[in-house]
């Protein structure tokens, strides 16, 4: 590997001059230079974690963008897209510049945080395909989405939190100003009139702020109470409300102590924790929100009069005739009416070799038609497709997991009643056994509530999680669900899928059985096909010239001037032994046929990772939909003793249920649609970012890159996090043990409460920060 490609930065295959790794890159480089945007190459920094900027030859074929155009104001049209392959700020600049140079475009803006693009243009002056073509040609992948359906909810919540945080911050800082002078007044002289004035102003600032900022907590507390549970938000809500009400009462009666500052500072701290938490997970979620890509494929329907129309899959009726171009993803379940082709069924079966289909064969939504156009009679659409059935199975499996209770809520379940009983008994003890007036007793009880109000406790988990997921995110590992790290720490069994998970999911030519000139010839034939095996062959010899007059016989192979490249039957080999992996045969007149065998390459660090997992006392299993010989070989290579081949999605789910019944906590790592139900059924699940959309949406954790190391890294961070969370709980509880007695005997003043609360929170945050400083992987 000598040279880096001028466009994508990837390695230029040996023997290929000119500084480019493929024709797509050469074209893209030319395009960027023609438009005078060549500064891009000087300005960019390539992010090794992101998808390389390698143009896809069929880019634009998969999506018909015009179906997603929305009208905007002033007679403009508008398109919302998700971008894949962005590396840095220079990419924003390049994309926006490319789009702004197109006729009619009035607005193009990339949001780097959410990786989304909005384009607006004057309707009628241009069409979306032309506008987006240069961006696709440079190598970005664009997926249209419906802004109404995507992430609005989380975004709205996040904004609400941010707004509440701002209000709480404002109120807290101003009230602290007043409170400090009141506290100072306890030591020097401050007249009761001045103190009351201070209290009244504090009340004026704090009460509206509390009423507004407590809503996120109150909502969650009420939901929990309705369901007959308690969570951390219950004591928070009660504590803050009582403290504010009590302080108001004290202020009205000219009392000495008011807890306005404690109430609002507490809310402020908690809102910070909540916001950080939601933001960290929101970013992971946006990176994975490609589920809609499946729904975004348009289906070409052939009308009875011969015309063609593009429709979203859910609008297609059963019995309709549908045209599927080569390279297109099939959007419906159907029966082939005309044409024969190879269909990549990897999504459904997990098999790496495409299946051959001919008229009468059944095909399923979500599979990809590879070599020739097909006409299908629609058998089922939308909810009735196999794809939808798998998604349903997944949802059923997911309900089991929804019962998992977060550690913090488990603690709160015991903690909340104890706190409330303590406060109540403080009140009762003071009124019944002493001469204290009930107002003072109530004040002591409120002090107990404030002191125990789990500020540190409520920060203990989110802070660790934010720091943990931040650390993982820097390595391209995205944590999607709130309790994923906790569940990860419980794991004692790891179940892998094979294709695309342990392996890279793309075939690679195996050495042996062929000569250099055989390969040269085969590769030059293979250049004319999109079949994955043909592509692998062409990649193996990038210097091969394109052969003339090659005809593709769909589902069988390629033919040119008496030479044939294709399946065993196609070249007429009468050999009965079963092939271990996929293969292609090359036949020439007058010479014996040559066999090219392929293997699905195992991820470079799969073996050490499996060994390391086993060394940590985890048992490792392999469940694959692929055929037995292939699975046996991979399992043997990686040292996995328990494996099953030819598993259907149901079989995978059953196996996971068996393991769960044995009391095992299973981590499922998989990428195919056939894994999706199993991913949902597992205790915790993980998917590579190359996985299909449904799997990525289901998985708790998504990782990028070619290595399997993230599995190990996530496990380590999860275990460290659990330790830190437990330490934090111990710290928070220890502090309560120390201060609650003081509150019970009535020694806690607002000043002491404020100091105690902030120190405990700071200690907990400080402890959590140790995670980010952790060892380098």
């Amino acid at each position: 590997v000598s040279e880096a490609c001028l466009h994508c930065g990837g390695a230029v295959p040996a023997g290929l001059g000119g500084g480019f790794c493929c024709r797509g890159c050469e074209g893209a480089y030319g395009l960027v230079n023609t438009l005078g945007l060549e500064q891009y190459y000087r300005r960019r920094t390539v992010d090794p974690a992101a998808r390389p900027l390698r143009p896809d030859e069929e880019a634009g074929r998969f999506h018909d963008y015009s179906a997603h155009v929305q009208p905007a104001e002033n007679g403009e049209a508008c398109l919302h897209l998700m971008i894949e392959g962005m590396h840095c700020g220079a990419c924003i600049w390049l994309i926006e510049s490319l789009l702004n140079k197109q006729a009619g475009v009035t607005w193009a803006r990339v949001n780097m945080t959410t990786r989304r693009l909005v384009v607006r243009w004057r309707d009628g002056e241009n069409d979306p395909g032309t506008i987006l073509a240069p961006v696709l040609a440079v190598g970005y992948r664009l997926v249209p989405y419906d802004p109404q359906r995507l992430g609005q909810e989380t975004q709205r919540q996040e904004k609400e939190l941010l707004r509440a945080m701002a209000v709480a911050g404002f109120a807290a800082s101003n009230v602290m100003l007043l409170s400090v002078s009141v506290w100072a007044g306890h030591f020097s002289y401050m007249g009761p009139a001045t103190r009351d004035l201070m209290h009244w102003i504090s009340a004026l600032v704090v009460l509206p702020a509390v009423a507004w900022c407590i809503r996120p907590f109150a909502r969650s507390a009420i939901t929990a109470l309705r369901a007959g549970r308690t969570n951390m938000d219950v004591p928070i809500t009660i504590g803050v409300t009582l403290a504010s009400a009590m302080s108001l009462y004290e202020t009205m009666h000219g009392g000495e102590y008011a807890y306005f500052d404690s109430a609002i500072t507490l809310l402020f701290f908690l809102l910070i924790g909540r916001y950080l938490d939601s933001r960290a997970r929101g970013r992971a979620r946006t990176a994975v929100e490609h589920l809609l890509a499946l729904d975004a494929t348009a289906v070409t329907v052939v009308e009875p009069d011969g015309g063609q129309r593009l429709l979203p899959p859910h609008k297609v009726a059963a019995g309709a005739l549908v045209l599927v171009a080569a390279g297109e993803r099939i959007g419906v379940d159907g029966v082939v009416a005309e044409g024969s082709s190879d269909v990549d069924t990897g999504l459904i079966t997990g098999e790496s070799v495409p299946a051959t289909v001919a008229p009468g064969a059944k095909v399923f939504a979500g599979t990809i038609n590879l070599s020739a156009p097909l006409r299908l009679v629609v058998a089922a659409v939308g909810e009735r497709t196999l794809l939808a059935e798998i998604v349903r199975m997944m949802e059923v499996a997911e309900q089991g997991r929804a019962r998992y209770v977060a550690l913090a809520d488990r603690v709160a379940r015991y903690y909340a009643p104890v706190v409330h009983v303590a406060a109540l008994s403080t009140f009762l003890a003071w009124t019944l056994f002493t001469e204290t007036p009930w107002q003072v007793a109530l004040l002591y009880a409120v002090a107990v509530l404030i002191i125990t109000c789990p500020c540190a406790l409520a920060l203990a988990v989110p802070v660790v999680q934010v720091i943990g997921s931040g650390r993982l995110m820097r390595q391209g590992i995205l944590i999607k669900s709130a309790t994923a790290l906790e569940r990860f720490a419980d794991v004692d069994t790891v179940v892998f899928d094979k294709t695309g998970t342990l392996t890279l999911g793309r075939p690679r030519l195996v050495e042996g059985g062929w000569q250099e000139d055989d390969l040269r010839l085969a590769a030059s034939l293979a250049l004319s096909s999109r079949h994955p095996l043909a592509r692998a062959l062409a990649q193996a010899d990038p210097a091969a010239p394109v052969a003339e007059g090659v005809a593709e016989v769909p589902g069988r192979g390629l033919e040119a001037a008496g030479m044939r490249l294709g399946s065993r039957a196609f070249v007429g080999v009468e050999d009965e032994f079963e092939a271990v992996g996929p293969e292609l045969w090359l036949s020439r007149p007058g010479r014996a046929p040559v066999r090219f065998a392929f293997t699905d390459e195992v991820r470079p660090d799969a073996a050490p990772v499996v060994a390391a997992l086993q060394a940590r006392g985890l048992s490792v299993e392999l469940l694959s939909g692929d055929r037995q010989p292939t699975v046996r070989q991979v399992a043997g290579d990686l040292g996995i003793s328990v494996w099953r081949a030819a598993c259907t999605p149901q079989a995978k789910c059953r196996r996971l249920a068996e393991l769960a019944a044995e009391g095992r906590r299973v981590l499922m790592v998989g990428d195919g649609l056939n894994d999706a139900p199993a991913l949902a059924a597992a205790h915790v699940s993980m998917s590579p970012s190359t996985a299909v959309d449904v799997s990525q949406t289901t998985a708790d954790v998504v990782f990028q890159g070619h290595r399997l190391g993230p599995v190990l890294e996530t496990l380590d961070v999860a275990r460290t996090s659990r330790l830190l969370v437990k330490q934090n709980f111990a710290l928070a509880l220890g502090y309560n043990v120390f201060t609650v007695p003081l509150a019970v005997i009535g020694l806690v003043t607002p000043l002491i409460a404020a100091i105690a609360m902030s120190t405990s929170s700071l200690v907990v945050i400080g402890n959590a920060l140790r995670l980010s400083r952790g060892r380098k992987p």
Binding site: G89, I92, W93, N100, T113, R163, A166, N174, L177
Partner: protein, 54 residues
Amino acid sequence: VTNLLMLIPVALFLGFSGLLGFLWALKSGQFDDLDGAAHRILFDDDNDQPSRKA
């Protein structure tokens, strides 16, 4: 005491206007893309502003 009567409202007013400013910024979408803004400044060109073409 008269100083206080003046200073406290002034302090509150200043704080409150800061808060309003922040809420306005939030509403007008200035916090939507925190990462992009930091990078965008490095690459802004003056010659292809979309607004000028419109």
